[in-house]
């Protein structure tokens, strides 16, 4: 499924190392800014030859794919580190993994081409897992409800913005795919949504929009608990192809 032009991945040492990080559920309350601070100190503790910015307060050069909303756990936080000299990705990944607090981990590290685009510019979609536990509708009801949901021509939500007036916008064009399955602990919805810039859909916005639908097909007075949301994947969506974050 994943298209990966081999030329992008440099197998050996490199000056641009791309790491895939996980944020486990118990530590999901850490904000993006706090996550960056944690990584800065973790990188410094490894004593790996990361490139530092110039100026009064030199900082390790890191660039992120996207800001993770507070409260979202993830296994797909991609970060590029610039090294002073070509450095072994396995060694760096292992060192970083060992120097982060429990709850954060490195699941992969590879050298990528130095002149490739930034992660933020290259990635435009993400896959989330919504886990509805407890008393929830049957799978068949879910399927029908989601079908109806996706047939709507527009899904308008109100986005609250920091220090700016609220904004009404249609998220339907950037909901690419919804799939539902039944798991032992409840219902699992996989959602592919737009990521970054104008296409961004926050998973919490989808959850809110779905909430009414779910409530309706439950046809009960009892409130359906909001699902646990987890980021599974970030990728580039191009002509309906999916390009892995390793390869952009």
């Amino acid at each position: 499924m994943n298209m990966c032009p081999e030329s992008r991945v440099v197998r050996q040492c490199g000056k641009r190392l791309r790491c895939r990080l996980s944020v486990a559920r118990p530590v999901r309350w850490v904000s993006h800014l706090e996550f960056m601070g944690m990584l800065t100190r973790a990188v410094r503790r490894t004593a790996a030859p990361v490139q530092y910015s110039r100026g009064f307060n030199p900082r390790p050069q890191m660039s992120f794919a996207t800001a993770r909303p507070v409260g979202l756990s993830s296994e797909a936080e991609f970060v590029d580190f610039t090294m002073q000299r070509p450095y072994c990705p396995d060694e760096f990944g292992e060192a970083l993994d060992g120097s982060m607090p429990k709850g954060f981990s490195v699941s992969g590290c590879k050298a990528v081409s130095e002149d490739g685009p930034s992660l933020m510019a290259a990635l435009n979609a993400a896959r989330y897992e919504l886990l509805y536990e407890g008393r929830v509708p049957q799978l068949s009801e879910w399927q029908a409800a989601l079908c109806e949901f996706l047939q709507r021509s527009s899904i308008v939500i109100t986005r609250e913005r920091h220090n700016k007036p609220d904004r009404r916008l249609d998220i339907r064009p950037n909901i690419y795919r919804l799939r539902v399955s039944s798991e032992s602990c409840g219902i699992r919805v996989l959602a592919d949504l737009g990521l970054g810039g104008e296409n961004n859909v926050r998973p919490s916005e989808l959850v809110s929009a779905l909430q009414a639908v779910v409530q309706e097909c439950l046809q009960a007075t009892q409130e359906v608990r909001r699902p646990a949301v987890h980021r599974l994947e970030v990728y580039r969506r191009e002509d309906n192809q999916k390009i892995s974050a390793w390869c952009v």
Binding site: P26, V27, V30, R41, R44, R45, V70, P101, G103
Partner: protein, 628 residues
Amino acid sequence: MDCVSELGAQVDEILPEVQKPSQYMGREYGAVQGRWEDSETRVALAYPDSYGVGMSHLGLQILYRVINGHEEFRAERVFAPLTDMAEKLRSRNLPLFSLESRKPVSEFDFLGITLQSELTYTNVLQLLSLSHIPLRRQSRALSDPFVVVGGPCAFNAEPLAPFADLVALGDGEELIMELLNCFRRWIKERRPGGKEEFYCRAAQIEGIYAPALYDPEYDESGNFSSISCEKGVPSRVKKRVLEDLNRGEFPVRPVIPYADTVHDRGVVELFRGCTRGCRFCLPGMVYRPVRERSADNVCDITRQLVLETGYEEVSLSSLSSTDYSSIGSVVDQLVDTMPLRATSLSLPSLRVDAVSVDVADKVREVRNTGLTVAPEAGSQRLRDVINKGVTQEDFEDALQRAFSAGCDNLKLYFMMGLPTETDADIIAQAEMVDMARRLYSHHRKSQRGLRISVSVALFVPKPHTPFQWEPQLGAEEFQRRVELLRGHLPSGNVKVTWSDPQSALIEAALARGDRRLADVIQSAWEKGAVFDGWSEHFSFQAWREAFDEEDLDPWYYASRTRGENEPFPWEHLDPGVTREFLLSERRRAFKGIPTPDCRWADCSGCGMSCGVTGEHGRVQSSGDEHVP
């Protein structure tokens, strides 16, 4: 994935709805792991302010390490939840929990609370109440935790006495372990004699005060007259002193917060105590003698700290950092050999003189953040009164060095309402600012570019200081003097901020208060007073009503000149300096006679048994000694 307790799951439900949820999450780098069940005795270490304030406090990190260094003991952290979180906990009837195990605070054996400011006293009640622990010691059950308060304000713990089981005076490192071991023996013997017996046993530990065993008395006119104590406990409770800082545990692997804190940096303690003898200063009186960490030890732990934490900045901290005898050589060594890239040193609490500025310049502090100094008073006369050993020349020299090093930012801390202060002293503060501007333009050929901020604090007389007899200046007169200062300051480039005289009044009343104030504190808290040190939360209304209701007067405590022979409700708590010394210092103050620092001059006879006359038990360090 971790097994989350029922309370933990309920907490997770409210976290999306509060500001900065990570402050209630725990799980930081350096936080203790392992299971709650594997320890026998558990201590909740609480800082009665926000996570951001409390996590910047070194004392908490030290005790956390000391306790957790023992398998059978476990310390976890607790902070005062911000108001949004407190509301959520209340509305769902959830108890306040520890950050590590998310256990209700009420399930701990001890709740230790540090008292760094009088304006956190209502937060102490807030902590107890949110923990579902009865506020009053007398209403608590045997199963409730023992509430122990410590820190500088513990030296007059009387206003909090009915809420506390025990009070810890002085250095906590050794004291806390003795207390915990004493507790374990009492538990093993199946708690003979109940809490009363434990109070008696604990009171045998040097530095422990058990207020239940002491009873204050008041005369017919309502003044405090004396305090009596039960048999078998000392009539005066001596503070605890850690003799050798080098042998005490130091947290080279502290808990590193995710959330922004007040000071987001590593801290190394250079020395404890201070003998400069500023006559207004509580820590300078109660934490004597000076005990220096050796230069080798400072360098060692700084390097370890940098490697273990990855912090970009390490602060060499103490009550007056540049008074450290080997400061020059330690800074040189560290600047040359800092183990990680781009780690900077910072030196808070600079003495006002050229040597200090030179040292600060070595760590580029002056260039990066500017010069922050506290002359406290404007005129030499008043600086002699308060024994702030800073001369006009010192100040000028310091500024010259700073400006030639490229400093564009000057921060000055002044006090107002000091004993004997006149308008001329206020105008002298403005003249210091003026001189700074002249010196700057001499260096830079222009006054533009220099930013000066002047911070004015209303003097709060503190117990155990030579000014414990002095009245606090009233709010109106304070405002007039602030306006006088502002009127004499040049316009532009100078920013002046000053303290809220109403919160300073409450601080002053509590600082020299007696046990009767407990009712006022509780009543104020019931009326919503909480986070009194935060201007956006402070409610004078609540406090005034509380004082009225209890028929007590804040001005009685804050604004009255106390008699030379008046007994004080805090004098059974003994920091080592004697009343005679404080009184003689007060007399010298009024005559304008300074008392030199006994580190470099003769013993001043403060009463603290420091062993070495004139040297005050100072650990001799290798390297060069600099004497101002």
